[in-house]
Each structure stands twice: as C-alpha cells, then as structure tokens.
Point group: C2
Chain length 410, copies 2
C-alpha cells in the first residue's frame, strides 16, 4: 500500500463505530474498506467525450472511442474539456453548448471532475473578433464568460480562466482579438477582469491561471496578480515535455519556485512521449510538423519510467492537487506525438500500467478488518471516497483530513 511517511499529507486516519438499527455496537464483524475515488485529481484531456456523449461519429469510431474512454475511466477521475472559443463558437451566436453539456454530463455521471479549458486565450480564439473594436471584443469576451460559466455551473466548476498571459500581449504570429485587448489592459489587468467576471457567475468555482512559461516571468506575474487582489484558486503549470523530460532537478525547482505563493498547484497539461524527442531548437512546439511520430518499445519504457518518477514527485509535494496528462491516447494527440498512455489502437503502453498501478494500487486503500468489542474499526488510508462493506450492507463515506471519529449505522 505504500503508506509511508512521504505521502502522509495524502492520508488520514479514521475510527468508525458501527451500530445496528437499535443503536447496539456491531461487534467482531469483518469489514471491508474500499477506496472508490481519490481526492487528488488524476486527469487527462478527454476531448473524445464530446463525440461519445453526442454519438455524432460513425458506429465503428464510436465503438473505438468507447473502448478508449473505458480505459480512461479505469484509472482517472478528472478530465479537461475543450472550450476554445474558435471551435466552441466557430460561427458567432452558435456555440456548441448542447454538445459540451452532453460531454460534461457523461463524465459527471461517471464520477469524473470536469475542467473547462480555457475561457480566454489568444490561440484558437474566435476569428470573428477581428472585425470588432477593442471595446466590443472585451464585451464579447465578458459575454462569453457569462454564458459558458452560467450554462455549465454544476457540471463544470473548475475553469482555466485565462491561458498563457506571459506571451499574450507580445504574441506576434498572427493578429487576434485577445492579444489586442491584452495589449490595452496589460497582463495583470486582463487577468483581473477575466477572473472577476468568471467569479461573478460561479463564485464557488476553482479558478486557474495557466501558463507554459515556468520562468521568473510567470512568478512575477502571479505575484502581481495576488497583490492586485486577483482571487486565483490554483496555479496552472503546463509541462509539455516533447523535447525531453524535465527531470527531477528541474521539476523540484519549478515546485519550489511556484509553491511559495502558498496556493495549490495543478499540473494542467503534462506530456511525456514514447517517441523520439522533438529537436531542442524548436521554440514554438506547434512549429514541429512531421508526417509520423511513432511510439517505439524502447521509448515506451522510457516514458513509463518518466511517468513513474514525475507522478511520484508531484504526488509527494503537498501543494500539488492535480495532474492532467494532456493526451490520454496517441489517437488524436496534440502535434501527432505519441504522448498517450495508450497507443492509437487502444492498446495500453507500459506507462498506462505504471500510472494505473500508482493511482489504483500503490496510492489506493483497500483493507479489511474486524470491529472490536465496542463495534469500532480504525484505519489509515489515502484521502478520497470509500465504501464500507459489512456483510450485505454498504455505507459510503469520505476520508478527509479533518475527520477522525464517526458513528455509522448499518
């Protein structure tokens, strides 16, 4: 069970007193305590959920995607859904709200926490913003936030509010509406506005700032935002490692630098491939376009090792609360990279087995014990949801840090 001290912050102890309908202690009975979910968010980008929930692909493809998502559901408990403005509302006034709601609902029914990504970004934004004045763009951006955040409240209560602000006002690959308004508002200014608007329509949501820039730039930006009163709930850190695994040293350095704000850290977009590395001279990963990027047995072993090390380092750090692998499968992976835990034919790679073992075995609690003379059982387990099973009776409960002793009726 790996219940050693290095994960103590992920665990709690609980004493449960079992009583029967008459209030008498249930003495000397065997009790199974089975973890059913993690508090920690282990996620993937699961854009396929849109097709699966809406069944708007061919029957063959649908079957293939259902198999894929079953493998996802076997291991993970959180998912990121795409809300890129340019694809969510390609034609002004015709957003894909229905389709995305179906996807979010599908995931929610399967006990998966959903995050929307992103509400404001300069890439894949709506092209029709280009016809507007800055004032109109800002108004449209506010209206979009109001619409999506309200429409999905209850289904999606976690948002990447704004993405990649460090580069946003100096992004010069092509003109776009969001870069235009970010130049005018400034970095902290645009973050402030977008967070305030999102918060207005879902006060209880978990709101993230997200960036691929892990340099001092991002640190200073966060520092500025916090001093300016922006209510950031978690710091989002992208870690697309197409050009090679950061390694323990860089990873721990990033954790050190970004943890001093005292906020939860989410690794929002993690990539470790099972293919050759992208050449180091590529600056914008999008510039690397190759016809085929194969997954190979050798590199699959490397990926599995890297996944094991990276997930272990992150799970060990008390402020990390979420890790999202950007591509669950090589099928449909960003840049065509072999970035998934499973291959394009849905077969699992070694990394899938590794991550499954960590999440569903090493860091998961399943114990059986006997109630004592007072009807009590005590146990220590990883934080999350549990079923207590005693004979043919079952009670569900949560294990969290502030629960220690409780009485349950069975």
């Amino acid at each position: 069970m790996g219940q050693t001290n290095e994960f103590a912050h992920r665990m709690a102890s609980k004493t449960i007193k079992l009583v029967d309908a008459s209030g008498n202690p249930v003495v000397g009975k065997e009790v199974a305590l089975k973890q059913t979910n993690h508090k920690f968010l282990f996620g993937c980008g699961i854009f396929d959920a849109v097709q699966v929930a809406n069944k708007n692909v061919s029957a063959d493809r649908l079957t293939f995607l259902e198999v894929k998502l079953d493998k996802f559901l076997d291991v993970f408990n959180s998912a990121t859904l795409p809300f890129y403005w340019g694809t969510f509302e390609p034609e002004k006034g015709k957003p894909l709200t229905k389709e995305l709601k179906a996807a979010a609902q599908w995931l929610k029914e399967r006990n998966v926490t959903v995050k929307g990504h992103p509400l404001c970004w300069h890439t894949v934004t709506a092209p029709w913003l280009l016809d507007m004045s800055n004032e109109e763009i800002l108004k449209a951006q506010f209206a979009r936030i109001e619409r999506e955040v309200s429409d999905f409240k209850g289904l999606i209560d976690m948002w990447d509010v704004i993405n990649e602000v460090v580069i946003m006002p100096i992004f010069d690959k092509y003109d776009n509406g969001i870069t235009r308004i970010s130049k005018q508002l400034g970095r902290v200014g645009i973050i402030k506005e977008m967070f305030a608007k999102t918060r207005e329509f879902n006060p209880g949501a978990t709101l993230l700032l997200n960036d691929f820039n892990t340099s001092i730039n991002y640190e200073i930006l966060i520092d500025g935002c916090l001093n300016a009163g922006v209510s950031i709930d978690a710091i989002g850190i992208q870690s697309h490692q197409h050009q090679g695994y950061w390694g323990r040293e860089k990873l721990e350095e990033v954790l050190y630098r970004f943890s001093h704000f005292g906020l939860p850290l989410h690794f929002t977009e993690n990539t470790l491939t099972s293919g050759h590395l992208m050449p180091p001279q590529i600056e914008d990963l999008n510039d690397y376009q190759i016809p085929e990027w194969p997954s190979t047995p050798e590199f699959e072993e490397r990926q599995a090792k890297e996944v094991e090390e990276m997930y272990s380092i992150l799970f060990k750090h008390p402020q990390v609360e979420a890790i999202t692998a950007w591509s669950f499968s090589d099928d449909g992976a960003w840049l065509g990279a072999p970035a998934g835990f499973i291959r394009s034919d849905n077969s699992p790679k070694p990394s899938y087995e590794v991550v499954k073992k960590l999440i569903k075995n090493d860091w998961y609690t399943n114990v059986t014990c006997k109630t004592d003379d007072n009807g009590k059982v005590s146990f220590e387990g990883y934080l999350g949801d549990y079923d207590l099973v005693c004979g043919d009776k079952k009670v569900s409960f949560k294990l969290d840090k502030d629960s220690d002793s409780v009485q349950m009726l069975i």
Copy 2:
C-alpha cells in the same frame, strides 16, 4: 537653436507684456530672453559633492574635486547622491546624515535637483542586518526610510525607493538582510511596503522604482505593482553599457515597451565608456576587475557619437524626463571604467563637448527681440527657467506648457 518639430513636446510659446511702474506698456525696447535652467533633468552621479561640501579631504584633492564639480555645474542640473545603507550607516545608529545634508545643500544652492539612491537595496546594504530576525530587518528598513526621507525633505524630494527588485529575492552571491525579507514579502509586496513608507514621510516626493533588468520581467513587475496600487511616479531604467552601446533599435524598443504604462521614464544610471568594451560573457558587471581601463582617443570619439545619439533619442521621447550619467568623470568611476565625460585629470572628453552643446546650446533658448506697440514680445523656447533682461532690469520666470500670456512689471 534646433527648434524643430521633433522637440515640440519640450517647448512652449509665451507672450509677455512689459509694463512700467505706472502700468504703461514698455514699447520698442530690446529684450533678452535667457534660459537659465532646463525643466528636463540632465544629471550625473555626483558622490564627490559629499567631500567637497564637507571639505573632508586634503587641500589638493579638494581643489581637484572643485574643478571637477565646476565642470559638472556648467552643464548639468541634477545629481544623484549615495544613500547605500552599508556606507551611509556602516555602524548602526551612526548615519552620515550631517555629511549628506551638507552635500545636498551644496547642490541645492547651485540650483541642482538632488535624488537619493537608494532607500532599499540588497547590495551594499547594512551588514549588521544579518544579526536580525526578518521582522527586525523590516522594522529597521522602515525606520531608515522614515529617518532619511524626513531628514532630507525639502533638500531631497526624489528617491530611488527600491533598487533591482527583479533579482532581489533570487540574488545568491551572498546572504543579506534585504534579500531575506524580499523572499518573505515577494517582489510586489516589498515594493508596496517601501513605497508606502516613503510616501508617508514625503507625500509630494517623486518616487522611483529602479532596475537594470529591462526584460519582460521588469515590465510584468511594473504591471503588477500598478495593478496592486503602488504609486510609482517614474520608472527608473539603468543603462550601464560597458559591454557596448545598446544602439537605436534596442533603445527605441525599451522606450516602446516601458512607455505603455503612461508613466515618466528616468534613465537613472547611464554608462557609455570611452574605452574597450567589457567582454560579452560577463554576466554581473561587478565580476570584471582589471587593473587599468584606459580612455583612448579612438574610443572617446565613439563615446561622443553614442552620447549624442542616445541623448537625442531620449530627449525626443515625450515620456523621458531625466537622464543621469552614472559617472561624470573617469576619476572614481564605477568598475574603474572610463565612463566619464571628463578624464581622470579633469580634462574634458569629446563627449563632454557634445553633451554640453546639446544641453546648453542646441536645446537651450537665448533670444533677443523688441517689444511691439503694445509692449509685447512673443517667443518659443525650451521648457525651464528664464531671465528676461531689459536694460538694467531683470525678471525671472518659468516657461512651461500651460503658460501662454503674462504681464510683467519692470
């Protein structure tokens, strides 16, 4: 006189009606309008003023320094004085207040605007801070600000409040009290505290943030500070160019990037040498230690050209309000660099003649005209202080943007 459109923002027009004691217009008289000072601050680091004002050096040295400062006073109207905590108060409780007051007074009497540099910095800070807890260091830093800002109010109403904050919390060359508290407060946090404290004891002062880092880091830091409500009056930009003149392109890029905050820009520490260039691989300029760094005729010509171009670009930019050359003379120049406008023997370099011509001729107004039938003269001139001389009478006045028509009694 160079009164072309590119400097229109530096100029104003004024119509003056001269009347005699009985209120009658003074008609057909010759009038001289002589500029006596610039509104723009042309300055140097003038630490020698401490010795000259306190006469605490040998007679020979004093004479030498007086000659040096005469040359400074011939051209410049502003000066930076040293308030490094470690040299200002080497022994706790024994600050050099008297000595610095004498220097500031000496400069003020000579119509020189004085800036204090800096109130908070991790370099040359008081070594005795190392014996304190972080709480005590912060308290001592606040007390120092209160003392200096109060003691010098009226003599010094312009401060580099805090210096080089981008690197401050990650400065790792040696332990020091200020880096310690900056780690705790964060960058925006320490800036906010230091500005608030300085403002408290001299509400009307011009307060600067100052940095050598002109990258996106500094932009994001300023953005954060402004959004956090820090009342920065001017952005200080260091430009020590020991490794070579930035050139027009970089200079204009820096101006573009830092002007969008809408704040005045001060080039607080400018260096252009008349010697060989420091090798590009040196990262911290302080690491370059050589026994002698000669000024040569060839490089003096280069320096003069660079000074001419750089000062012209800065004077042309409407938001720049001050340029301070860090070393007026090679004698005592930082790093032993031949960075002065004059050599170690007080002889002027070509750059001295160039900067004098710009400041006291090309961008300076001296005109004579005749009063018309209504006793009026109109003129256009560079912003600043003027004497109007008519016969044996003299009236002093200010030429600024919002003055157009005035009546003077002579």
